[in-house]
Amino acid sequence: MLLLQFLITGLATGALYALIALGFVLVYRTSRVVNFAVGEFLLVGAYLTYTLALLMPLPLALLVAVPAAFLFGVLVERVFVRPLLGRNLVAVIMATIGLVVTLQGGVQLIWGPDQKYLSGTLPDLTVQVGGFALPSRSVWYLMIGVLLCAWLVYLLRKSRYGVLVRAVSESETAALALGINAPRVVGAVWGLSAALAALGGGLLALAGGVGFHLAALGLKVFPVAILGGMDSVAGVLVAGLLLGVVESFSMLYLESRFAGITEAVPFLIVLLVLLFRPQGIFGQGRIERL
């Protein structure tokens, strides 16, 4: 029973990791940009939700924050990323690092530095099994994380827009030659990434309040993305869930013997993955001809 409790708890946290990491991987696939500002996207999403929750019920605020964050993501791509595309990759990476500082400063200017919290809650979905309560927020994490990721994977494979995204991911030049408006596709993917981060940020804020600590949680997308494979959307879902479970089991079995190990476990896994399967579990190995 105890094992099952920790498994479900880990899956719930992992679903949230997957949700946030999915946007990160989509951006990497379409534009080859490692978005270091993913934590700040979470932050912006949480603050957007906070503002909207002052004006409307929380569930509605979360729903409105998603398209608002989408527009924000499109804007970021247009202003920060697109002018640098085609330039040295280091320049683009530096731009996203600059974005980290810009967004943190912007959030502080707009919303101030005070600690905030979301008013209201989502409908209670607590599941009671014997002595174990799967809290409502875990059920929401699982539902939103798993279902949304699965739906997006399906869309990428089956929908027309998904095919366009995959085409741009394969070769932007070929996509342009076929008449696909690649910049618009890339912009939309950045928007989607921001929207997913906003949803993740909103859910995290619901649990622990709105504040700059949320940006640090964005760091979790790196082990998830590397484990799943930087170019594998389905891999992200599996890796997110896996990492959540590993953390949960580490808390159960290792933490008492090696205090603080749970924090390090995801990055130890990344190290092993990079050593033995650099493309991640589900990523495709690429052979480059020189």
Partner: protein, 395 residues
């Protein structure tokens, strides 16, 4: 010939006086400076900015209401650390190399990590220093004779909490939950030794990051251990609300406790009803403590400036207290004709008769810290912390 020489001498004296007096006057009008290294950006920006507001308000108060420091103006220098030791160290070096030692008489730093990094240099410079940190290692007058902890150390706070545990239940089972940081780890060895001394059992010891996405697994782990009390250290209202709520959901019936940085109303706002009964240590005054003269004084001053008198956080109150104490120490040093770094240290060491209008029990240092606390309990219904003890002297 003599008359002539006298005339020349008199003229010389007159010229010297005319040219010299402005220099004397300028020396007297030199400001007395103190520097604050604050986390104005980054994860602790909420505390740093609240502190800055208090530093500015209280500096104005000292200059305008108290007439400055022996006629000289008190001047505040501010640098942002971003809660980063490297950035904070650079800011400290910038300030001490730029400012003259006879003008810069005090530095206030942020974080346990930064303060420990700066401590040897602070001691070498003979620079009076304090910080947002209440680390036990800093309260060591033999090694760091110019460093003062303006409050109880984290170990003192643990002693206060464990005393309360003992009062409520003998041979209690304790769980320690702390962040993987200098701030989190600081009082843990003391807490473990003290708990053992008091006949208590440490049934769980959990280390976590400063922020977490969820605490259900941690709550389940604690539930397995079955503690009567869970003491949290090294968080600033990020993990506490998560864990308390998750513990409640999993049916863990333990009393949660925390130290100074958990003693802010946001705990209840973020954690909701689950945080009711959360016990904290605190050693200044809350904004709503209307019986404390300092609180009324601050409110009146802000009102006279046309500033809002709505709720101010504990970070604000603690920072006002720092400037109040500094102003008093500087003034006493000036009165004794010793407005130097050494004079300020001497002054701080002899302020046992001062209590900053009720913002602390007493400024009587014991090993360069003020081992006085009160315990408060979260009252979610009223949205405030209620005092459950009078002043306690610990350690």
């Amino acid at each position: 010939m003599n008359d002539g020489r006298r005339k020349v001498l008199k003229a010389g004296v007159a010229v010297a006086a005319t040219l010299g007096i402005p220099f004397v006057a300028r020396a007297q009008s030199k400001p007395v400076k103190f520097a604050a290294l604050l986390p104005l950006t980054g994860p602790f920006a909420f505390a740093g900015n609240a502190a800055l507001e208090a530093f500015r308000d209280a500096t104005e108060y000292v200059n305008e209401v108290k007439g400055g420091i022996g006629g000289r103006k008190l001047e505040l220098l501010v640098e942002d650390t971003g809660y980063d030791v490297a950035k904070g160290t650079a800011a400290f070096s910038r300030i001490v190399s730029r400012e003259s030692p006879d003008e810069l008489l005090f530095v206030y730093g942020d974080s346990t990590g930064l303060s420990k990094a700066l401590a040897p240099e602070v001691a070498r410079l003979g620079l009076p220093y304090s910080a947002t940190s209440f680390s036990s290692e800093l309260a060591d007058p033999k090694t760091y004779p110019t460093i003062f902890v303006l409050g109880p150390t984290y170990s003192d706070m643990m002693a206060g909490l464990l005393g309360e545990v003992r009062r409520r239940k003998r041979a209690a089972k304790i769980a320690l939950v702390y962040s993987n940081s200098e701030f989190g780890k600081d009082p843990i060895p003391f807490a473990k030794a003290q708990a053992e001394k008091l006949g208590m059992q440490i049934v769980a010891e959990e280390v976590t990051p400063l922020s977490m996405p969820d605490a259900t697994a941690l709550a389940l782990k604690l539930k397995q251990a079955g503690p009567d009390f869970v003491i949290m250290q090294g968080y600033v209202l990020t993990v506490e609300p998560l864990l308390v709520r998750a513990a409640k959901e999993q049916g863990l019936n333990a009393t949660f406790m925390g130290t100074y940085y958990s003693a802010e109303l946001a705990l209840m706002q973020r954690g909701g009803p689950a945080t009711n009964g959360f016990v904290v240590t605190y050693h200044n005054a809350y904004w709503y403590d209307s019986l404390i003269p300092a609180v009324e004084k601050i409110k009146q001053f802000r009102a006279s400036k046309g500033r809002s008198i709505s709720y101010k956080t504990t970070y604000y109150m603690g920072s006002w207290f720092v400037v109040d104490v500094l102003g008093e120490a500087f003034s006493r040093a000036a009165k004794a004709g010793k407005l130097t770094r050494a004079g300020v240290v001497e002054s701080l060491n002899n302020m046992g008769d001062y209590n900053a209008d009720g913002l602390i029990r007493s400024m009587k240092f014991v090993n360069h810290r003020l081992p006085y606390i009160k315990l408060y309990r979260a009252n979610v219904q009223d949205g405030r912390f209620d005092a459950i003890t009078d002043w306690i002297t610990v350690g």
